[in-house]
């Protein structure tokens, strides 16, 4: 705790003054979210690493909760005067003159789900630069049709300290990296672009073995395969979701609808559906903050609550929402550690972490063989959902036709659209090959972006609308 107090230049006495100011008009609860974040982005374009973006950010977000109402303010100036001013602004929400009992500050301890050996801050940029140039060289050596390659490596370290009016103190050190390789290829005056990406809460030691080779090969094969790709006929058809990044289906189709704030506000299609059967008995879905080094993992959430593996659907039955403190209080349950925020400039709201479906009883081979005519969807982007109606959509960046039980030609430029609850009911086969995706996924909600991941075993959906010709 002392290390973090020194980082933010604060003392226990100062913290008490800020909390007193925040609760000066009443309120049930208050928390302070201190954050220091450093980010570096190296960029390779046109065969040269000639761009660097470097950022340092520090400040505090002050939140006051009065029943279910939230007052929030932030400041980048960590002096007593500036923080008291922000605390007064957050206090404006409170109207119930009351006093809550206060106790001495006490540090909480949590498990560590992202042990690393080399912190990004400790790595000189001259050590990072060869990663980018190696990928660039590999990409061009893999296929003569490649005409452009862009590589970008971003590493971030965030140090947070959450102190609340109950005297609870939580700290967390959060490493994160993201690597993107974007490739353009040309064949007979036709051009195609595609990409591959890697991300996780790892340190610099992650880059060993064949990591660079694999990310380069994926970017190249996904791009040049598009020259062979066809646009499928549009309409309703069977869709097989490949293991890994297809987990976006869970994120969009069910995950957002189970964020408890939407249910508390009665705007989710899962409002009042707890305990109902929503899928076949072999379907179980979890939102898990504890997956080692995954992009969405958290030791503690942004409200200072311990994180966990939260089962959402058990054996086809809806069993849990994703809670922050406000919704947990509303429903009379324990918070699930899903209170997250983009930075100290935002109040926390219920958000997903790593969302995935457990493996099921079928083999990937029997799933594909069972399809006469359909799509095998492998990588995705641009997921979106309407929380109330449950209508969702995602774009297939890499996929294939399935014809008579066989994966045949690649497909391109198709959008898949469906309705969350209907699609869950239409999950008719679940493979035994769960895979968590390690792409650079960022989830947007309330104008805030947070890193997440998701996963899926091979899954067959009996009917989805596919945009085609």
């Amino acid at each position: 705790m002392k290390k973090y107090f020194n980082l933010f230049g604060i003392t226990e006495e100062l913290v008490n003054k800020i909390i007193s100011q925040a609760l000066s008009r009443g309120g049930d609860y208050c928390d302070l979210f201190f954050q220091y974040r450093s980010t570096r982005n190296l960029h390779l374009e046109d065969n040269a690493i000639n761009r660097l973006y470097n950022a340092t950010d520090m400040g505090v977000g002050i939140r006051v909760i009065d029943q279910e109402q939230t007052g929030f303010s932030f400041t980048e100036d960590l002096t007593l005067t500036a923080m008291k001013k922000a605390a007064s602004a957050a206090a404006a929400i409170a109207a119930s003159k009351g006093s809550i009992s206060r106790s001495d500050l006490k540090i909480q301890t949590f498990p560590n789900y992202y042990t690393i050996s080399r912190t990004w801050d400790s790595v000189d940029i001259r050590e990072k630069m060869p990663l980018l140039s190696t990928i660039n060289n590999m990409v061009f050596s893999l296929d003569s049709r490649i005409i452009k390659c862009n590589v970008s490596l971003t590493d971030t370290e965030s140090k947070v300290m959450i102190i609340n009016s109950k005297g609870e103190v939580a700290t967390d050190y959060r490493p994160l990296f993201g690597l993107k390789v974007v490739v353009t290829a040309e064949e007979k005056h036709r051009r195609e672009t595609n990409m591959s990406a890697l991300s996780g809460r790892y340190g610099f030691e992650y880059f060993k073995g064949d990591v660079l080779k694999e990310v380069s090969q994926k970017a190249v094969s996904r791009t040049v395969d598009l020259f062979k790709a066809v646009k499928p006929d549009g309409g309703e058809m069977e869709v097989v979701l490949a293991p890994g990044s297809s987990g976006i289906l869970l994120h969009e189709a069910i995950g957002h609808g189970l964020e408890a704030d939407f249910n508390r506000k009665k705007t989710s299609l899962f409002y009042n559906k707890m305990g109902e059967k929503v899928a076949k008995p072999f379907v179980s879905i979890v939102d898990d903050a504890t997956w080692e080094n995954a992009r969405g993992s958290l030791n503690v959430d942004d409200e200072g609550t311990a994180t966990e593996k939260t089962i959402l659907v058990r054996d086809g039955v809806l069993v849990n929402y994703l809670h922050d403190r406000i919704s947990a209080q509303h429903y009379g349950v324990q918070p699930t550690g899903n209170g997250r925020r983009q930075s100290f400039r935002y109040p926390p709201v219920p958000r997903m972490r790593n969302t995935y479906m457990f493996s099921g009883p079928h083999t990937p081979e029997e799933i594909i063989k069972s399809v006469t005519k359909g799509i095998y969807a492998e990588t995705f982007s641009n997921g979106q959902v309407l929380i109330g109606a449950g209508d969702f959509t995602f774009y297939v960046k890499t996929g294939f036709l399935i014809e008579k039980g066989e994966i045949t030609r690649p497909v391109k430029d198709i959008n898949i659209i469906g309705n969350g609850p209907e699609v869950l009911k239409n999950v008719v086969m679940v493979g035994n090959d769960l895979k968590i995706d390690n792409g650079t996924w960022t989830c947007g909600k309330d104008a805030q972006g947070v890193p997440v991941s998701h996963g899926l075993p091979t899954v067959k959906v009996s009917s989805l609308t596919v945009g085609g010709i």
């Binding site: 279910e68 939230t70 400039r345």
Partner: protein, 440 residues
């Protein structure tokens, strides 16, 4: 920090970086003050306020380039930050095209007031704002007994940027923006939830629509959707609502960027002075529009802005070329930034156009999907209405449109008379023929 303090700090940062060895320096010092209120169930659900200060430093050293951002603005800290930033920069590879813009590209002197700052900012009391947003929520919630939830929002923001370049440019922008919106959820007789919203964004408080209009419009949009279903996959006429045209126009703009041309990832490469759309499409980029949401006399590089016709009766006339990609591509820089977009508007309303077409789909939302800037291929989810004559027959959803941007824009057959005023893209409704919709 007041204005003068911020000017002094920006000048100090520039001088210090030069003194420590930078060849050229660009400094942006940004101050943002914002407030947001959200009202639900007759109570304020969320009240957020904050003041943000951001410093961006662009460093040029021996043809090397880097950008550094800090929210820590104390000089003692910044000295170490700038020293480290310069060390980082030296490690990078050379890029002979990197430099500050040529001095001749900077604006000469401020001209007319573009009316971007509203003096009412910070002069409306918190209670007045709370009353306004509460009233708006009440209007939405009590319009119809099928409405089960409503959330009303109000926000205001004041933005101030000081921009300085070591080769002589000094500029400042001081703007305000206001937003009001309502999000509503209704339940149909089968207990299915339907949602929609209505938002308005303006530079001046007095230009916001009334809370009644916002609250009622959100409800109208929501209730119209009750009974949505998909239709048979087929080719239909498509009328796109004015507020949604930006999704389709984005396909053109993404292909006009200098970076996309250089990376060979633009389907519009080599198409200047060629026909990329039907003659119904004329699009003008106007940075001098009074009260415009993207108006200004200089762009993000500090270069003077100009009013330009981008597409003239379907012919592509201009790209968006910043000074860096201009040098790399051997092209004259224009600007890399889009400002306000105006159209040559038609004479008919959406209703008149639908009556004329006879039968088609009126798209009121695009949901998800993607556009491939390299090939021009797209696939977007849509929500809207099937119409026959000027009458809405049924609401539709869970459908996709698929095609190629060049073909789609060539199939633009009519332009409405209804510019969307709450966006920097002031599009009218557009009518396209022969659009493929995937559904049942």
């Amino acid at each position: 920090m007041d204005f003068q303090d911020r000017y002094r700090l920006a000048a100090w940062v520039m001088d210090y970086a030069l003194q420590r060895g930078a060849d050229e320096v660009g400094v942006n010092l940004i101050n943002t003050e914002e407030l947001e209120i959200e009202c639900r169930d007759g109570k304020i659900d969320r009240l957020e306020q904050g003041i943000q200060n951001l410093l961006y430093i662009e460093l040029y050293k021996d043809n090397r380039f880097s950008v550094h951002k800090s929210t820590l603005l104390k000089k003692n800290y910044l000295k170490g930050f700038i020293d480290t930033a310069l060390t980082f920069t030296i490690y990078l590879e050379k890029d002979v095209f990197r430099s500050l813009p040529d001095k001749n590209l900077y604006p000469v002197s401020p001209e007319n007031d573009l009316k971007l700052y509203d003096t009412r900012f910070n002069r409306i009391t918190l209670n007045q704002k709370i009353n306004l947003v509460s009233h708006m929520e009440n209007i939405s919630l009590n319009q119809d007994n099928r409405i089960i939830a409503a959330t009303a929002l109000f926000s205001e923001e004041c933005f101030h940027i000081i921009k300085m370049h070591s080769n002589g440019f000094k500029g400042e922008n001081h703007t305000t923006s206001w937003a009001m919106g309502s999000e509503v959820t209704a339940k149909d007789k089968n207990n299915k939830l339907i949602e929609d919203s209505y938002y308005a964004y303006t530079r001046f408080f007095k230009d916001l629509p009334s809370p009644e209009k916002v609250g009622k419009e959100a409800v109208k949009r929501c209730l119209q959707k009750i009974g949505q279903s998909k239709m048979t996959s087929d080719i239909y006429f498509m009328v796109v609502e004015n507020s949604e045209v930006s999704t389709l126009l984005g396909m053109i703009f993404s292909g006009l960027q200098g970076s996309a041309l250089f990376l060979r990832s633009s389907y519009l490469e080599g198409r200047k002075n060629q026909k990329i759309a039907s003659e119904k499409l004329t699009v003008t980029d106007d940075p001098f529009m009074r009260k415009g949401l993207r108006s200004g006399y200089f762009d993000s590089e500090g270069c003077a802005t100009h009013k330009r016709i981008i597409v003239d009766h379907g012919i592509l006339k201009e790209y968006y070329i910043d000074t860096y990609y201009g040098k790399k591509l051997g092209m004259e820089p224009t600007t890399g930034d889009r400002s306000n977009i105006l159209f040559n508007y038609g004479k008919k309303s959406p209703q008149e156009l639908m009556a004329e077409i006879g039968r088609g789909i009126f798209v009121t939302d695009f949901i998800g999907g993607n556009f491939n800037s390299t090939t021009g291929d797209f696939s977007f989810g849509i929500i809207g209405f099937f119409f026959e004559k000027e009458k809405i027959v049924k609401p539709v959803n869970e459908m996709n449109i698929t095609g190629n941007a060049l073909t789609l824009w060539q199939n633009l057959i009519e332009v409405g008379n209804d510019p969307y005023q709450y966006s920097s893209i002031q599009a009218p409704c557009l009518v396209f023929k022969e659009v493929f919709f995937s559904g049942e």
